[in-house]
Symmetry: C2
DNA sequence: TTTTAAATACCGACCGGTCGGTCTGTATTT
DNA sequence: AAATACAGACCGACCGGTCGGTATTTAAAA
């Protein structure tokens, strides 16, 4: 195997291992030594690939956010109306619970780190803002097509939509087996959709 | 001043100081030495009042949860219908943003700690479960009084209601000045309420 | 009322251990 | 020979927690 490929593999192993450890124990409680041990990699290798623990975290965030954004990319394509498209996305967002099995608590870690470290924060705002804008656009489109009531504020509605998703995510982290999260998510979003429906 | 009172004052100083520090830097990143320094208290005093750093955190959680539950205690009393009562609670929940000024990021800390340490988790489930049950009861009452559609699942709706509140709280921590959180919360809850309304 | 012993509140030097990060070297590839 | 990819001993800073000692209060005994 080429030297270069070997390096990439080591890097990915480090990324995978640290994702698992950060999810389980949190950023601070996870030591670099622990990551190296679990990944069967020396400390020298670690610092060859990442300048610091922080930087590894940032890289982890990058790849994770990309994968989540990618999952949403194709959602709602086949829907004919906006409410239908939103429902499809809710169903998919529920699917996230399965797809990213065990990789969810890391979201909490991203959040806390972002709320405290500007460098992390800046990496997180962009995709978050994109989501918000995207949803606001969908709500506006729903109003335009007559599905939603004109009195609905698209920006506030977008906040509410993301809140439901995030709030349920949080509850799911807290109580992994507390409910059928996929079904609850879908019905929750449905409730908000119904709340926006045209009151003719 | 009596010795006893002096002790209580020291304890409270420790509690206040650690609340601020945990909120700002997180549990792990806050050292006992730092807490003591900020509180102008010796380490001996610290360990006289608390058996460990963990125990201080638990005590902090106790008082914080009590104060939040207390804030909600009297909400929705003067309302005549369930939707009105819910709206009043939403307005009040929005007021939390002001009332617990700066003391919100600690919620994130409670959440992460709870998701990882059983001792913390158990302290948090009870009030959380109480909230959930309370809301489910309100939704059921709303159905009974004819305000809400019978097809609404009270338990799922309660999850959704709390999700909106929690999700917006999370967003508010992330972007303190990102929106008029009180207004957004109220309109968000209103959207869900409208979604539950009787479809006669 | 005075004496005194126990209890409470506090002090801060100190301890074993862990942490993130460095540095010197070696093996392999280019 | 230069660059890449690793190996792991090592370092100083710092961490949570301990411990022997002191000052003040309290309450019972004399």
């Amino acid at each position: 195997m080429a030297n270069h490929e070997r390096g990439i593999e080591t890097r990915n192993t480090l990324l995978d291992t640290s994702l698992a450890l950060f999810s389980q124990n949190g950023y601070d409680a996870t030591s670099v030594a622990q990551i190296c041990q679990d990944a069967q990699v020396s400390k020298g290798a670690f610092y060859h690939h990442f300048a610091s623990k922080q930087e590894l975290f940032l890289a982890l965030m990058d790849t994770w956010l990309d994968s989540v954004v990618g999952l949403f990319q194709t959602a709602g394509d086949s829907a004919e109306t906006i409410p239908e498209a939103l429902d499809q996305m809710a169903a998919l967002s529920g699917g996230l619970f399965d797809a990213l099995e065990g990789g969810f608590p890391i979201l909490l870690e991203f959040w806390t780190q972002a709320s405290r470290h500007p460098a992390v924060w800046e990496k997180a705002v962009a995709p978050y803002q994109r989501f918000l804008d995207y949803f606001a656009g969908m709500v506006q489109a729903g109003i335009d097509e007559g599905s939603f009531d004109p009195s609905v504020d698209p920006v506030k509605a977008a906040r509410t939509l993301t809140s439901v998703a995030m709030g349920l995510l949080l509850q799911a982290i807290f109580e992994p087996d507390g409910a059928q999260w996929q079904a609850v998510t879908r019905s929750g979003i449905q409730l908000v959709i119904d709340g926006m429906r045209s009151k003719k």
